[in-house]
């Protein structure tokens, strides 16, 4: 079956005074119909830039898409004309941004902001659009939809604004919803509400979702498949079970170890990943994680590892998975003897 979205060998650079920053390097992944794909990574790992290129939101200049293809159904988004792109954006693919405070228009009533897309893409009349907008407000769980329809964003709380954003994004029944850290700015109890809502809508409307987050808890609870990004590269990808139970990249290990386990009884010190991510102006020659990696070998500093296939659909960009590499268990044992 063809994938709904297929990204292949995507490369995105940004021109700055200091040189060209390689924000996304050779990233390939796909999204199936009706699934939630999570992208995790630290700030600067290229996760937002990746999805922005899907939406055609990379400002050029300074951004340049150096290579790769993004196929939505069978068409390459990167080769589309502006006009074709405009037809897809907002109707077939839509996006929810991180900060609900700044991504709504403060001078426009919420209802009108939801209607905009409906009138533009679906050619609804004003009355129909209003009906649909009120339905959408109800669907995302905002009480008193008729009253809320006429309110301005400043009259909404953070969680409500995020719901309004989701209502706008879903108003045209998109096939793909991109959510860029939709809950990061929200409190835990509100985060729980918004995540439940997204899962619920995915079930009801069979929308595919790309969920960007840095919270592994959110990943475990919502996603079916996960991509881990580091320094512009995709270092590991697989199902949630692959990632949490059989991770094969030291960066993924590090991420999993650095979160406190709520259910643990005893207190162990957290295991942080020492150091900080590399400078993307001049990324290291070899594996970008090698300088922070406990298991780095000579080859890691010299050559970028390929994607090793661990299982079907589970890949890891790490030399440790090469059959010639020493077993990690042996390295750990050797390390503890020292």
């Amino acid at each position: 079956m063809a994938h709904l979205l297929e990204v292949k060998n995507l490369e995105v650079n940004f021109k700055t005074y200091g040189g060209e920053v390689k924000a996304v390097r050779d990233v390939s992944f796909h999204v199936n119909k009706g699934e939630i794909l999570a992208i995790v990574g630290e700030s600067g790992s290229g996760k937002s830039v990746t999805v922005q290129s899907i939406m055609g939101l990379i400002p050029t200049p300074p951004g340049i898409i150096r290579g790769g293809t993004i196929h939505f159904h069978d068409k390459d988004i990167l080769k589309m004309s502006k006009k074709e792109m405009r037809k897809i954006k907002g109707s077939k693919i839509s996006m929810v941004f991180q900060d609900p405070m700044t991504s709504l228009n403060p001078t426009m009533r919420i209802g009108k902001q939801i209607e905009e897309g409906l009138i533009l893409h679906q050619g609804l009349s004003k009355d129909d659009a209003k009906k649909r907008a009120i339905e959408m407000i109800k669907l995302v769980g905002i009480p008193n939809p008729e009253e809320r329809y006429n309110q301005f964003p400043h009259e909404f709380s953070g969680g409500m604004r995020q719901r309004a954003m989701i209502a706008i994004a879903l108003s045209c029944n998109p096939e793909l919803l991109i959510a860029d850290e939709p809950t990061t700015a929200l409190d835990v109890t509100i985060q729980a509400q918004v995540l439940e809502l997204m899962k619920d809508l995915q079930n009801k409307l069979d929308t595919s979702i790309i969920l960007i987050t840095h919270d592994l808890g959110v990943v475990a609870e919502t996603a079916q498949r996960v991509i881990v990004m580091y320094a512009g590269m995709m270092v590991e990808s697989g199902t949630v079970f692959d990632l949490f139970e059989n991770p094969k990249h030291p960066y993924t290990w590090g991420l999993l170890e650095s979160i406190p386990k709520v259910e643990d009884g005893e207190k162990k010190p957290l295991v942080p990943i020492e150091g900080s991510p590399p400078d993307l102006f001049s990324p290291p020659k070899g594996c970008p994680f090698a300088p922070r990696c406990k298991f780095a070998m000579d080859i890691c500093l010299e050559e970028i590892p390929p994607d090793f296939e661990i299982d079907q659909g589970h890949t890891a960009k790490c030399w440790l998975n090469d059959p010639r590499a020493p077993k990690v268990e042996d390295l750990v044992a050797a390390g503890s003897e020292e």
């Binding site: 729980a192 439940e196 919270d215 592994l216 808890g217 979160i259 990943i273």
Partner: protein, 316 residues
Amino acid sequence: MSEHILEVQQLSKYFHINKNQTVKSVDDISISIKKGETFGLVGESGSGKSTLGKTIVGLQAPTSGNIIYNGKDVEKLDKSTKKVINRELQIIFQDPHASLNPRMQVGDIIAEGMDAYKLAKGQERQNRIYELLERVGLRPEHAKRYPHEFSGGQRQRIGIARALAVKPKFIVADEPISALDVSIQAQVINLLDDLKKEEELTYLFIAHDLGMVKHISDRIGVMYLGKMMEMSESDELFKNPLHPYTQALLSAIPNPNPRADKRERIVLQGDPPSPVNPPSGCRFRTRCPHAMDICSQKAPEWKEIQKDHWTACHLY
């Protein structure tokens, strides 16, 4: 009592926004913190946890109530003793991008407190800066740089070094890790943990990430709309949460285990009400799944249900 380094007694902090409206940001809160303990304070935005922290270190004057530090009431002290106490109570701020002066060199930022208290001069001052930088995992040559040259995690380390410079006894850490990436958070938490042991510090650790709070704290207080809802030892709080708000808060933490039984999640309805006009009686009642008639009429008492486990709820 010498056992408690800090006692907060019925502390309130109100902000008047206009003639008729008052925000009761912190309302009648009492906590006692033992020497060497880490007390975690959790709550959603607007619950008053940062205001409480700032009031304790003296950045704001309380509206009413007392702050007893080492057995002495801070308000009633003469200026010189107060100055000593102000030195011993330090704070680390949430946003490492906004809390460092961008026009000052890191060394001077760290030494500012030392200069104000005339703790060190000349070569000694310089050595102390280098020592502090190394203490928090930076390098001495960083002293000549400016804040913009550092990453978020490094800036937070500078903030910690600045607090340590004046040899504090008690540190309020106001969401010190929420602006940082996951892999960096663990570094800063471990640093705070090590410093606590070595410098014999006491922490008031404010956060909204319950996982981290549990990890670092001995006891935890849960705040909602300016009121303390529940307080107990941290393991006890996670095992046996009494207040419906705490229960909802705990069940809302996403569990990083994809195979975990999807826990009975208590999804709260609605948003926290405005602190300008809080609900009558119990402030949580508008979102509480167990709300009864009495909840709207009478504010629940602050009671000790089990030993060292306090809560304010009509269910008990």
